[in-house]
C-alpha cells in the first residue's frame, strides 16, 4: 500500500521535497487555482519548504473574491428591502460593495442570514411563506450543482417566495484568460480537485492542446499538494504537458454526471465579469429562461445595476498570480480581515487573508527565535 505507508509516515513530506530538489534543474512558476489549496499551502508553509526556484502563485479560485462588485451591490439593494430575507454563505456578508456591505445591511435591520447549505434556504422559504427568500448563490462548479438542486426543487414544489441571485463562475475559461494574458508567468497548474470531482477533467485537455501547459488535478491535504507539485515539476523537466490526476480518491475522468445533469437543467453558460479581472467570455452560469421565475435579479429589478471597481488595492494582480499579497503597501496595515479593502482579504480562501493568517505568524515566529 504505497499511499498508506506514505501518508502514515511523517517524513514523507520531506522525502517529496528532497525528490523535488533532485528533479528541479531550473525555476518554474506554478499556480494553484483553488483558494482551498492556497489556504492549505499557506497553513502548512508548503511554499517555504520547496526547493529554491519553484515559485507558487495563487489563482483566482476564491468565489467570494471574484464575485463582481455590481453583484454585491445588487445583493445589498435586494437585502435592504423589508419584505426580503437574503441568505448566503458566510463570507459574502463582509465583502465590500461600492458603498456598503451585507453586514451593515444586517446591522441596520435587514434580514440577512448565513447558511452552510442552500437546502437551509429552501427550508426557510417553505416555513416562511410571507417572506421573499432570496438565496445569494455564488461559487464555482463545485457549488453550482447544490445551488441548482434547490432551484429545481423549488420549481417542482411550486414555491413562489423563493428566488436566487445566481452568480456562478467556471474555472477553465478563467485559466484560458490567464494563459492568454501577455503578462502570464504560469508554467503549470495544480487543478482544482473539488471542481474536477464534479466536472471531471476532460475539459482541461483542450487547454493543454491550446497552450501546452501541464495540469495536475490536486487534492487539499499537504501531501496531496506536495505530490501534485512533484508531478508537475516532473512533467516540466521532461518537457511534457499532459493532464494527470493526483486526487484519485475523489476525481474521475468524467466527474459526477448526476451533478452535471442538474446544473445543465437549471443553468446555462454566460459571459461573466470577475472582480479584479474583468469580463471573461463563457465563464459564468446563469439561470435558464425556464427558471426565470426564480431569478431575483429580474424579480427585484436590479438588472441595470452597474458598478465601477475602484483602484482600491492590487487584488487584480494577486488574483492573476502577478503579485503576492505582501507586495501590497496596504497589506496588514490599512487592509486587514477585520477591515478589508479588497475581497481577497475577506475570505479564508482569499490569498491575502491566507497570508495574513499564516504568514504573519511565521514571520513573527522567526523574529522571536
Amino acid at each position: 500500500m504505497k499511499y498508506l505507508d506514505e501518508y502514515r509516515n511523517e517524513t514523507i513530506a520531506r522525502r517529496i521535497v528532497d525528490e523535488l530538489g533532485r528533479r528541479t534543474t531550473r525555476p518554474w512558476v506554478l499556480m494553484e487555482i483553488c483558494g482551498g489549496q492556497t489556504h492549505t499551502l499557506m497553513r502548512y508553509g508548503i511554499d517555504e519548504i520547496l526547493p529554491r526556484g519553484i515559485e507558487l502563485v495563487h489563482g483566482p479560485g476564491c468565489p467570494v473574491c471574484v464575485t463582481s462588485l455590481e453583484t454585491i451591490d445588487k445583493a445589498i439593494q435586494i437585502a435592504s428591502r423589508s419584505d426580503v430575507t437574503l441568505i448566503s454563505y458566510g463570507d459574502m456578508l463582509r465583502v465590500p460593495g461600492s458603498h456598503s456591505d451585507l453586514l451593515h445591511v444586517k446591522a441596520q435591520g435587514g434580514d440577512v442570514r448565513i447558511v452552510y447549505s442552500p437546502t437551509e434556504a429552501l427550508k426557510f422559504a417553505r416555513a416562511n411563506p410571507d417572506r421573499k427568500v432570496v438565496f445569494f448563490a455564488v461559487g464555482f462548479e463545485t457549488t453550482a450543482p447544490a445551488n441548482a438542486m434547490v432551484v429545481w426543487q423549488a420549481k417542482r414544489e411550486g414555491l413562489t417566495n423563493f428566488s436566487t441571485l445566481a452568480s456562478h463562475v467556471l474555472v477553465p475559461p478563467a485559466m484560458r484568460a490567464l494563459l492568454a494574458a501577455p503578462r502570464n508567468r504560469v508554467q503549470g497548474f495544480i487543478g482544482p480537485g473539488h471542481v474536477c470531482t464534479v466536472m471531471g477533467y476532460r475539459e482541461y485537455e483542450r487547454l493543454i492542446a491550446e497552450f501546452r501547459v501541464p495540469i495536475v488535478v490536486g487534492g487539499f491535504e499537504p501531501l496531496d499538494l506536495l505530490e501534485a507539485i512533484l508531478m508537475l515539476v516532473t512533467q516540466l523537466e521532461e518537457g511534457r504537458a499532459v493532464i494527470e490526476n493526483q486526487y484519485v480518491r475523489s476525481v474521475t475522468y468524467n466527474g459526477n454526471l448526476l451533478a452535471q445533469k442538474v446544473m445543465a437543467e437549471v443553468f446555462e453558460v454566460c459571459d461573466r465579469k470577475w472582480r479584479g479581472i474583468g469580463g471573461i467570455p463563457d465563464s459564468g452560469l446563469r439561470l435558464r429562461p425556464e427558471y426565470s421565475e426564480f431569478d431575483a435579479d429580474r424579480i427585484f429589478g436590479t438588472e441595470g445595476v452597474t458598478a465601477d471597481e475602484p483602484a482600491e488595492c492590487i487584488s487584480a494582480e494577486v488574483l492573476q498570480g502577478l503579485k503576492k499579497p505582501t507586495d501590497c503597501s496596504a497589506f496588514g496595515t490599512r487592509c486587514t480581515p477585520e477591515n478589508p479593502l479588497g475581497a481577497p482579504m475577506v475570505s479564508s480562501e482569499g490569498a491575502c487573508a491566507a497570508y495574513h493568517q499564516y504568514r504573519r505568524l511565521a514571520i513573527a515566529g522567526r523574529a522571536n527565535h
Partner: protein, 96 residues
Amino acid sequence: MNLPKSVARNMCLAIPGKIVSSEMHSGIRVGRVQFGGIERDTCLDFVPEASIGDYVIVHVGFAISCVDREEAERSYEALEAMGLLKGELESEFENS
C-alpha cells in the same frame, strides 16, 4: 439555521464523512453524515451508489463523490500521523 462561521466560510472545501443513516425527505435522499464526532444532514442524490457505512466527500451539504473506505481512512490516518487531524476538524467545526 446558522452554523459556526468557520463551517460556512470555506466554500471550496469539501471533506470526507461517513454515512450513518439515510432516508427520503420530500423526494430527496438525505443522509446523516459523520465527520469525526460531528454529524450533518447531507443530500445524497448525486451519489446513488453510496450506502450506509460508505464515505462521501461533502460540499455545502451535498455529497459530490463516493470515496473508497480505504482511501478515506488513509487520509485520516495520514493526517493523524502528522498530528494534523485535530486542527483540521477544529477549524471546520469549532463550537459545534
